[in-house]
């Protein structure tokens, strides 16, 4: 994380090549410096914020006046920062008997905005309320509904519940950040008195990064995998020297408890879909022994998607992991206690995140918490199956080595695909795929769950979700297509994306067959596809020509397919 000075410097440098995102910041305290920090943090994370900052204390007017500057600006993201200090004012201004309704009033205001048709399509990001304990009732405030603490907590819980109900609302957990940094760091009374800033200078970068991380996750930038070293990272000591009885883990030896708790954290990440991998300089059999035998190991072999223990360099081994997972290095985190290994990996693998772990393992976990590495925009139930899927992928890579001929290999997989429209069951996964897929994604349009529901209900839209399985297992839902009519004869491919797990299986050919069948059944004559380049989707640059589309002279990004001339493509995939 950069400090305020570094963030300011980033803004002054040229960043015209970065994608622009329109963000409005609405606050009821002085937010100018926060805005600066947010712009810098965004550039650091690879995008450029075009910021609209309302004069403060105009929150309600800007939101509800249809002719306000804010409406004309048309933000993609609306950051609402209502400070606890202003809550204290409101609390003070109310007659004591009404203070029990303070939280509800604020929540009704937010909900009203979320329901406002004028803001459809805009994502709201609400900063929640760090607690101020005014001690008016002392600890007894916990039993007084009208107390400030009671209402603040009610408000924070209420925001969580609103965010569960409204897909368009995300929360930035300022209260959690204050618990992490401490109020003394978060807030400076003299700064507040002289500037009306409720965030201290030192806390501006962490707050800004928290906000920007939420936006980045919504835009599809987040970590997908955690690669772990073993000796002195997952357990204390060196398994090759100390042996299975000698390593520190669990309640027995030394600081074993520390490593157990780190493993518990890794396990929870795995359970929510982060892919765990091991890369260690060790003999494989010795490295795997604790995973099989040690009673205090939390992580077991079945939790690890790719396990590499050998004497090659970590750089080579991380590249091997990348080959199997098929995800970008910028979505990987590498944990290693050895500063030397960390430096080499950082130098040779651009984009990978390598936390500078503290020297004392006792501090690992608190340090990792402070980085908030695993921000996400969604969590769905299929996530915890992902590890199995990557283990199966490692088996496929093994099998493929035994075939000389690609076609024979594909035929040996016994692939079967299912095609469905968007429905209540697949909506979360469809939304998640539109948010996560960066490489095989022709137009990179992100859809929220609400958007997906709208698409499903629109009779003009052809929406298709593809699932694939083979003899090693089920890939689940791996491809999404959305087509809309341009006119009576022409369909436009609004979205075509596929998980990179199923690249080179002929899935894109199978998908096109299904698209053409649907188009034909509805009487369309042609399909127009478009490729919008991003920094990550170069692999589909010649997607349309390779499938037989011809270039549209008038529009250089677009390609057209004549349905009458189309012949079904040959694939090794059976339709279920």
């Amino acid at each position: 994380m950069l400090d305020l000075k570094q963030l300011k410097r980033l803004i002054k440098q040229d960043h015209s090549d970065l994608p622009r995102v329109k963000v409005a910041l609405l606050g009821d305290t002085a937010t100018q410096l926060l805005a600066v920090a947010m712009r810098g943090a965004a550039i650091d994370m690879g995008f450029d914020i075009e910021l609209y900052e309302a004069d403060y204390n105009q929150v309600e007017q800007q939101l509800f006046d249809p002719d306000s500057e804010l409406h004309h600006f048309g933000p993609q993201y609306m950051v609402l920062f209502q400070a606890t200090h202003r809550l204290v004012d409101d609390h003070a201004a109310m007659p004591p008997e009404q203070r029990g309704f303070l939280a509800k009033r604020r929540l009704d205001f937010i909900e009203g905005t979320l329901n406002d048709k004028a803001w459809e399509g805009c994502r709201f990001i609400c900063l929640n309320y760090p607690e101020i304990d005014d001690t008016v009732f002392g600890n007894y405030a916990n039993q007084v509904e009208g107390s400030l603490i009671y209402q603040t907590r009610l408000l924070n819980i209420g925001l969580m519940q609103l965010a569960q109900r409204y897909d368009s609302l995300s929360i930035v957990d300022l209260a959690a950040l204050q618990a992490q940094l401490g109020r003394k760091t978060m807030f400076s009374p003299s700064v507040y008195a002289s500037t009306e800033m409720v965030i201290s200078i030192d806390a501006l970068p962490p707050v800004a990064y928290r906000i920007v991380q939420v936006i980045a996750a919504q835009r599809g930038t987040f970590k997908k995998s955690l690669i772990l070293d073993l000796d002195n990272t997952l357990w204390g000591g060196i398994i090759g020297d100390d042996g299975i009885e000698g390593i520190q883990l669990g309640h027995g030896l030394g600081i074993g408890r520390i490593f157990t708790e780190l493993q518990q954290w890794c396990k929870k990440l795995q359970q929510r879909g982060i892919i765990l991998c091991v890369v260690s300089k060790n003999d494989e059999a010795i490295a795997k022994e604790p995973f099989r035998q040690h009673p205090d190991m939390v992580l077991r072999l079945e939790d690890i998607a790719v396990f590499i223990a050998n004497w090659e360099t970590k750089v080579d081994n991380i590249r091997a992991v990348q080959q199997i997972l098929n995800i970008g290095f910028d979505s990987m985190v590498f944990l290693d206690d050895n500063p030397f290994e960390r430096a080499i990996v950082r130098e040779h693998i651009p984009g990978i995140t390598v936390p500078e772990l503290p020297e004392d393992p006792a501090e690992y976990l608190e340090y990792l918490y402070s980085l908030n590495l695993f921000e996400t925009a969604s969590a769905s139930e299929v996530d915890d199956k992902r590890t199995r899927q990557y283990q199966q992928e490692a088996q496929r890579v093994e099998l493929k080595r035994t075939f000389d001929n690609e076609q024979e290999f594909l035929a040996s997989l016994d692939m079967q695909a299912r095609v469905e429209p968007f429905n209540a069951f697949n909506t979360p996964r469809v939304a998640q795929l539109t948010q996560r897929s960066n490489q095989f994604n022709l137009r990179t349009i992100r859809y929220s769950e609400d958007d997906v529901k709208r698409l499903a209900q629109d009779p003009e839209v052809i929406d298709m979700a593809f699932s694939l399985s083979d003899r090693f297992g089920d890939h689940g839902l791996i491809a999404v297509v959305v087509m809309r009519p341009l006119d009576d004869e022409t369909l436009f491919v609004d979205t075509w994306l596929m998980s990179c797990r199923v690249l080179k299986r002929g899935m894109e050919r199978f998908t096109l067959d299904q698209m053409v069948t649907q188009a034909r059944n509805r009487g369309y004559m042609r399909i127009v596809g478009e490729y919008l380049p991003t920094t990550k989707n170069a692999i589909v640059a010649s997607h349309y020509p390779s499938l037989g589309f011809t270039h549209l002279e008038s529009e250089p990004t677009k390609w057209v397919l004549d349905i009458a001339k189309y012949q079904t493509l040959d694939t090794a995939i059976k339709k279920l």
Binding site: L4, K5, K8, R9, K12, A30, Q32, L33, S188, P189, S190, V191, A193, S194, T195, M197, S200, I201, D202
Partner: protein, 79 residues
């Protein structure tokens, strides 16, 4: 001693305003530096507090009219 404080302040000013030509003189005031508003002022104050490990009251922060008064304020604290 005031000379030492001025030299250190020059570095802090250059850092905060990202301008290598700035020189802190006793007469220098907010009107002379384009970017010197209440928000950069507070950044100056926080940088000064960190540098000398001192703490100013909100009143002191808002009272200073020029760098000379700042220097005096710092000198009083570090004596």
């Amino acid at each position: 001693m005031n000379e030492e404080i001025l030299n250190a302040l020059t570095e802090i000013f250059r850092d905060i305003f990202d301008n290598e030509d700035l020189v802190a003189t006793p007469e220098l005031c907010a009107d002379d530096v384009e970017e010197w508003d209440s928000l950069s002022h507070i950044q100056l104050v926080v940088a000064i507090e960190k540098y000398w490990h001192i703490k100013f009251t909100a009143r002191e922060i808002m009272k200073w009219q020029n760098v000379g008064e700042m220097v005096q304020g710092i000198a009083n604290k570090i004596e």
